[in-house]
């Protein structure tokens, strides 16, 4: 484009910045106006996802280790109780038979 602006006597060629400004002015003239509401809708949807991710991450971070261990402890206690009952019952039945 710069090449195309040279070789006209008595006329100062357009500088790159002037060409740029001319392009910008024409772009503004011909560009369709942005749909701000649609853009807001799009951004707020992205923010909702972001907030959900943040909440998810913070809930994991803020939870103490022993909180996360509770379900495992309950399972282990349950299984131990069942085993104790079975063993106890068999021991008690053995005693009865003898």
């Amino acid at each position: 484009m710069e090449q195309d602006n040279k070789h006209i006597e008595g006329q100062e060629p357009l500088t790159p910045l002037e060409q740029w400004e001319l392009q910008s002015a024409m772009n503004r003239e011909h560009a369709s106006a942005p749909d701000v509401e649609a853009a807001w809708h799009d951004v707020s949807r992205r923010l909702d996802l972001l907030v959900m991710e943040e909440e998810d991450a913070s809930s994991h971070v803020s939870q103490p280790l022993w909180h996360r261990m509770v379900p495992f402890a309950c399972w282990a206690a349950g299984i131990a109780a069942v085993i104790t009952l079975i063993v106890g019952y068999r021991y008690w039945s053995g005693l009865q038979e003898s």
């Binding site: 484009m1 710069e2 195309d4 602006n5 070789h7 006209i8 006329q11 100062e12 060629p13 357009l14 500088t15 790159p16 910045l17 002037e18 060409q19 740029w20 400004e21 001319l22 392009q23 910008s24 002015a25 024409m26 772009n27 503004r28 003239e29 011909h30 560009a31 369709s32 106006a33 942005p34 701000v36 853009a39 807001w40 799009d42 951004v43 707020s44 992205r46 923010l47 972001l50």
Partner: protein, 182 residues
Amino acid sequence: MTKGVSMTVHEYEQLFKQNFERLYYHSLDIVHDEDVARDVVSDVFVNVWKLRETIALDTALSYLFTSVRNRSLDQLRHQKRYVPLLDEVIHELENYTDTDREKYEARIEALKEELNRQPERVRRVLYLRFYEQKSNQDVADMLGITVDGVKKIVQRSFAQMRVSLSKKMLKFVPLLLLACMN
């Protein structure tokens, strides 16, 4: 970036709705692509939300303009079609202050008015040459004039516009000084 009171959702929404269009045109001036400009501004706003704890509302606009400009320049560097103009223009835009931006925006608006004052034939040449990015040869072929004719039209019309713009920009000097003082 300044440490400030965390922005509320309402304040953020207001900031978005009041400034999206200006920021969009600011990006469009650099990338010359509507979809890219829209994406750049949306990405910057999402980033502002992430940084809402550290950005004060009164400095947010300046931060938004700087971020939009920097991201747009990054996009521009990836668009090979602008290579011939790139270095000088990027260098110029990178060093823009808020006052330079106000001046630039005023200049673009004045240029738009000047373009509308040009005769239809001149506007057609300028449109094909700078909006459609056709070469002088292509414009000459399309309009049935010589290549020298195209060059003369471009340079004469811009010589006229330069004079009108410099007169118009003088009117902005007091406003720009006021903006600097604020």
